[in-house]
């Protein structure tokens, strides 16, 4: 029997080659829609987006719309935006505050915890509780909803693993972005826009592509947005990969923890909080080894970025953090959701400057993002062509023909997983292998999302 597309893709990827059509093929998208997204933890938003009882935002997992609420008791809930009666979408606003979602069709109404509160003519039409018992009806929920550092995730079907276990040791790195004080992050946004690019390309770029920075982002270096022309220094950074996530770092000039945090623009009051909150190895990664987190991706489609441009003529740099989701619309279209994120306890003037730094670099108008997405749209256009079925893209950077590797993992890196200095596509290959395992239907592949046998 001829192997199916999932088998062919997996075999090529195990060898570091990527069948080009995976970035533009509706058949592959259908495998992702059916087998991947319903069966892993998917990011929905951050608790700071719904701080008060009754607050809600609307978010999607592929083509399912979910209402993410904080109910009257303060609990987070996630419910499918589909009326139990005839299927109307009960919520048509993308954000707001309400105690009740009333379906516009026949006016069944649901509390903000998803339970059915009432329906018109309950007695006359249904014979009251005997015909339709209200407390046995609530909006459909995903199998699991859990949060970590305020990041809210849902799994449509039970992935058989808790969110914490899914994140595993990647939390070491995630904390550097999301836990700079006890209060954690607050998010602004998202900006949303649609681009004619396949969703996977952004994930792979952020998980480990330090190699593109010097050329793709040449223009932002040209205009002096950074303290030092640093694009060519990219190869001095470390690539790390750990379970379901991986990312890139910059190597900072000599200094201790405080000096290096100051170098990227953090004020002392924030540095003190991070020093108190972070573990000794986390502090050592920055303070002793001088590696500062930059881009990262958490499988499947959440990326993070941290950078530090100059926001005012003649002044020092200011760091910013962005969370971004590559929301799949089709094989050739992605909706980008890009949030500005900042430590909730940061001083107000830091928050204002950091926001400015974000807008200049990332998001719909960001000067980095513009050139990134230009590449991804172009790849997707080419990958949707029929010749793409005959081409395997070379994603073997760091591998030798004889199976050996260029360089080797650091053995004294303070963080979990593995890390190595310099360019390489180790992280992209790990991401792709995780992805290809999820193309198979239940039972046919490892679907726990765990990186059970990734490349090191």
């Amino acid at each position: 029997m001829r192997p199916g597309p999932a088998e062919e893709i997996s075999a090529a990827i195990a060898d570091g080659m990527i069948p080009a059509h995976v970035y533009g093929d509706p058949e592959v998208f259908e495998l992702e829609r059916r087998n991947l997204f319903p069966r892993t933890w998917v990011f929905l938003g951050h608790t700071s987006e719904i701080p008060h009882p009754g607050d809600f935002v609307l978010r999607r997992i592929v083509d399912d719309s979910f209402i993410v609420t904080r109910d009257d008791t303060g609990r987070i809930g996630v419910h499918l935006n589909m009326c139990l009666h005839r299927g109307m979408q009960v919520c048509r606003a993308e954000m707001g505050n309400t105690r009740m979602f009333r379906c516009p069709y026949h006016a069944w109404s649901y509390r903000n915890d998803g339970s059915l509160a009432g329906l018109p003519f309950h007695d006359e039409a249904y014979g009251g509780e005997e015909g339709l018992s209200r407390d046995r009806h609530r909006l459909v929920a995903p199998a699991r909803v859990e949060t970590y550092n305020g990041l809210m995730f849902a799994a449509v079907e039970d992935p058989g693993i808790s969110l914490e276990d899914f994140l595993g040791d990647f939390r070491f790195y995630l904390d550097l972005y999301t836990a700079q004080s006890e209060s954690g992050l607050e998010l602004r946004g998202p900006q949303r826009w649609r681009v004619n690019a396949n969703w996977k390309i952004g994930c792979e770029n952020f998980v480990g592509d330090m190699y593109h920075t010097p050329y793709t982002h040449r223009s932002v270096v040209d205009i002096g947005l950074f303290r030092e022309p640093k694009a060519h220094k990219r190869k001095e950074g470390v690539l790390y990969h750990c379970g379901v996530g991986g990312g890139t770092t910059y190597k900072l000039p000599p200094g201790d923890f405080t000096e290096r945090m100051r170098y990227v623009g953090y004020p002392d009051i924030m540095i003190d909080r991070m020093a108190a909150l972070w573990s000794e190895p986390q502090r050592r990664m920055v303070g002793d080894d001088g590696f500062m987190v930059s881009a990262a991706t958490l499988f499947p489609n959440l990326s993070l970025v941290h950078n530090w441009p100059i926001v005012r003529e003649g002044e020092d740099v200011v760091p910013f953090i962005s969370l971004r989701q590559w929301h799949p619309v089709s094989a050739t279209e992605t909706e980008v959701l890009s949030w500005f994120a900042v430590d909730a306890e940061a001083p107000d003037d830091f928050k204002a400057d950091s926001y400015k730094a974000y807008l200049m670099c990332f998001g719909s108008s960001g000067m980095f993002e513009q050139d990134d997405i230009e590449n991804w749209v172009s790849i997707t256009t080419a990958a949707a062509g029929s010749m793409a079925h005959r081409l395997q893209l070379n994603s073997r950077m760091g591998l030798l023909h004889d199976g050996g590797q260029v360089g080797r993992p650091l053995d004294d890196f303070p963080g979990p997983g593995f890390a190595r200095v310099g360019y390489g596509e180790f992280n992209q290959r790990n991401w792709l292998q995780m992805w290809s395992r999820h193309l198979f239907p239940p039972g046919a592949g490892d679907t726990t999302g765990r990186d059970t046998g990734g490349e090191r």
Binding site: R92, A93, E94, M95, G96, T98, R188, G189, P190, Q191, R192, W193, R194, V195, N196, T216, R218, S219, V220, D222, I223, L225, V311, R312, E313, E335, F340, Y355, K356, L359, M360, G363, S364, S365, M367, E369, Q370, D371, I373, E374, N375, V377, T381
Partner: protein
Amino acid sequence: MTGTTSGSGGKFRTSLPHDDPRHLIAHHFLNEEAALLDAAAWHLWLELLTPDITYLMPVRVTTMADTDPSTLGTHARMDHFAEDLYSLRKRVERLSGGHAWTEDPPSRTRHLVTNVRTFTAETDPPVPEPTGVGAVVEVESALLLFRSRGDDRPPEFLSAGRRDLLRHTEHGWRLAHRSVTVDESVLRTQNLAILL
């Protein structure tokens, strides 16, 4: 006749008549500006800005009709643009530096400016002459931006309203503030490597 009328939608301002000198100045300014933008004359465009320019484009969101009308449809905490002269200048330097790949090949744009409505703006201290140095004019316009790139992608449109403050400086009329109210919550454009 400038003033306000009250209707079912609340206060609705009436603009200056179209033969008012302030309207003629504002309309002329917007057309000249659009010509510069469509010609990618970014550096000349920068010269039209006051040093204290604020240039905003808030993110629009879909909210229910009963939401507080003052924030209706606008995400109070997020923008596509929140620029000052420094960041606008950096954007222009990037676009004209030869390495902004997303604009290479460049977009072919057409800034279609219409529905121009001009209003008197108070100044402090008041200017004796309504169009003299120091005078400020408020102008609203509708913008339809057509953008085409390459030959294998469909063109993109951005529809927006703009509210500008024009100030008469000793160098001439300059843009002191712009806020762009884009008409989509999810932009259908690859990026904002353009100016509105």
